[in-house]
């Protein structure tokens, strides 16, 4: 509809003029022909003289063929009409997924009357061209398009599909980065730390600043290696693809700086995207607990029931957590869960304890 605003009035005039013959042929093909043929056939059968039998035969034949012809014409004509709107008004009217013949026929029958009205107004009152175009397009959209409800559901479907594609692409990207770092920077750091380690071991006992420099460099290389490992494993652990969520969570729980009790009961594997998000949820939630909660214990429970994967992370900290913009990462968790139609719930009264519950679809 917005496109119609920008259209010049001569295009609207041309559009409505082209609409005239189309309106007439639509009315004839879908209305006059089948009804007329049936009427003539009936009349001939009842009243025609014996000498007019051949004519009666033609009418009957026409009455039999015309409805099929009309039905075939309905779709084609609708397509032609839609093309008229796109070419002359720039208004794209998508064809309905399931052809709604009743609405199409209604449009073709109506067009006989609306087309001349639109044409006359467009020619006589060029300043009203935009309104004509709008009204004409609205009518066509309502009767030739998929209908409001179907259009929305088509839109929802395409959004859901593109969102799933984005989630999968993000996931694939994380895997790629993990793999690149594993094969590249990490191996180089190991090699560096190993060489410095050999130098340090070889020169053990040698006093002096050169030795101290080697020792410092070695210590730093080892620390860099540990930091890199932590980062890379957080991206997307290979064991997650390989052995699933249960296996991957051991590492997360073991590396948390506070004691974590882990209970996982997921007999059937979920989709890779959902597993990656569940892993991320636990990892991020535990990071959050260790940074902000002041907790002494945390508990992670993951189980699957009724086609949903339920992840619950509890801590005995001070509570008062929120998804507000305080950099706690909880908002990121909520967003990632929502990206796969999951839910996120945070229960964190001041004074604790805090419980994060995330449910993700895990098809049966």
């Amino acid at each position: 509809m917005t496109a119609a605003h920008a259209v010049s009035s001569w295009r609207v005039v041309l559009h409505t003029l082209v609409g005239l013959p189309l309106g007439v042929s639509g009315f004839v093909l879908t209305g006059v022909l089948p009804i007329g043929a049936a009427y003539c056939a009936g009349w001939s059968l009842l009243y025609a003289a014996p000498g007019d039998r051949p004519m009666t035969g033609v009418f009957v034949l026409l009455a039999v063929v015309a409805p099929g012809l009309a039905l075939a014409a309905v779709g084609r004509l609708a397509a032609v009409q839609r093309r008229r709107f796109r070419a002359l008004l720039g208004a794209g009217i998508p064809a309905p997924a399931r052809p709604a013949r009743g609405r199409l026929i209604a449009y073709h029958l109506l067009a006989l009357f609306t087309a001349p009205v639109f044409a006359v107004v467009a020619v006589a009152a060029p300043w009203a061209a935009a309104r004509v175009a709008r009204a004409d397009t609205a009518l066509a959209r309502a009767l030739l398009g998929p209908g409001r409800r179907a259009e929305l559901s088509m839109r929802v479907e395409s959004l859901a599909r593109s969102r799933a594609d984005i989630v999968a692409a993000t996931d694939a990207e994380r895997r790629r980065i993990e793999r690149d770092l594993h094969d590249g920077a990490q191996q180089r750091l190991v090699s560096l730390a190993m060489n410095l380690g050999m130098a340090r071991a070889g020169l053990a006992g040698t006093p002096g600043p050169a030795m101290r420099a080697i020792e410092d460099a070695h210590d730093e290389a080892v620390e860099a290696l540990a930091a890199m490992r932590e980062f890379v494993r957080g991206l997307h652990p290979a064991v997650l693809d390989d052995r699933g969520l249960d296996a991957a969570l051991s590492g997360v729980a073991a590396r948390a700086p506070l004691p974590v009790r882990l209970r996982v009961d997921v007999p059937v594997r979920c989709s890779p995207a959902v597993e990656a998000i569940a892993y991320f949820v636990v990892s991020e939630a535990l990071t959050n607990v260790s940074k902000h909660a002041g907790a002494t214990h945390a508990e992670v429970a993951v189980h699957r029931a009724a086609g949903r994967l339920r992840v619950v992370v509890t801590d005995d900290g001070r509570g008062g957590a929120s998804t507000g913009g305080d950099g706690t990462g909880l908002l990121g968790l909520a967003r990632r869960a929502a990206a796969v139609d999951g839910t996120f719930a945070l229960h964190s009264p001041v004074g604790g304890p805090t419980t994060i519950t995330v449910e993700l679809p895990c098809g049966s």
């Binding site: 594993h182 190991v190 730390a193 080892v222 540990a226 064991v239 052995r243």
Partner: protein, 213 residues
């Protein structure tokens, strides 16, 4: 001691070869994937094989699977598995076949040359060497939790035992007296209902059997 290395990174293969040669090992062959490793082990029958986990073609757990094949087919060849990440599940797989002559360490550990060489020698001699990280993961996975009854010091000792350290090793690591370590161990064994044993290897076995989920 004769050793075969399997590592797909050219850089690390060369580095490990140098490190082990300098450390007194005879590197009989260094290969880049699991198939070549199994062939090399069959040909050379080394004392120990040093194996990377992620190798071609799929870059997932080739090294673990190769180690299990070696355990089955060449029971006299010890295996040290090296990886950028250690995973409790891989450790459980590795230890499912046998608990002697097996090691599973982070690649980070090669930076501490004397410790690393000692760990490889220990495994080659029929001992075990589990990375502290993987021991921590095994502890997390243990379901019933009488561990909570262990004191922090006892947990430390249990961890070192699971890594394959001897009493002397634990004494040195914790800087406590020999008799104190013996007291901790005795207390752990009592609390965990484990049989008292002297051999390091059987101790590790007992601990691991206990830890395994």
């Amino acid at each position: 001691m004769r050793i075969v290395i399997a590592e797909d990174s050219v850089l690390l293969r060369a580095g490990l070869t140098k490190l082990l040669t300098d450390g007194g090992f005879e590197v009989v062959e260094a290969v880049a994937d699991a198939d070549a490793l199994l062939r090399a082990v069959a040909v050379h029958r080394p004392d120990v094989a040093l194996v990377d986990v992620r190798m071609p073609p799929s870059h997932t757990d080739e090294g673990i699977r190769a180690a299990l094949v070696i355990h089955h087919e060449f029971p006299r060849v010890a295996v040290v598995v090296l990886s950028q990440f250690v995973e409790e599940r891989y450790a459980t797989d590795l230890l499912s076949v046998r608990t002697s002559g097996v090691g599973y360490l982070l690649k980070d550990r090669v930076a501490h040359v004397p410790d690393f060489l000692a760990a490889v020698r220990r495994v080659a001699a029929g001992g075990t060497a589990l990375d502290p990280e993987v021991v921590a993961q095994l502890l997390v996975r243990h379901r019933s939790d009488p561990r909570e009854r262990l004191t922090p010091r006892e947990s430390q000792v249990l961890r070192l035992m699971a890594e394959g350290r001897s009493n002397n090793g634990i004494t040195a690591e914790l800087r406590v007296s020999h008799s104190a370590v013996e007291k901790y161990i005795s207390s752990i064994f009592t609390k965990l209902d484990l049989p008292h044993t002297d051999s390091d290897h059987r101790r590790v076995l007992a601990v691991l059997r206990y830890l395994r989920p």
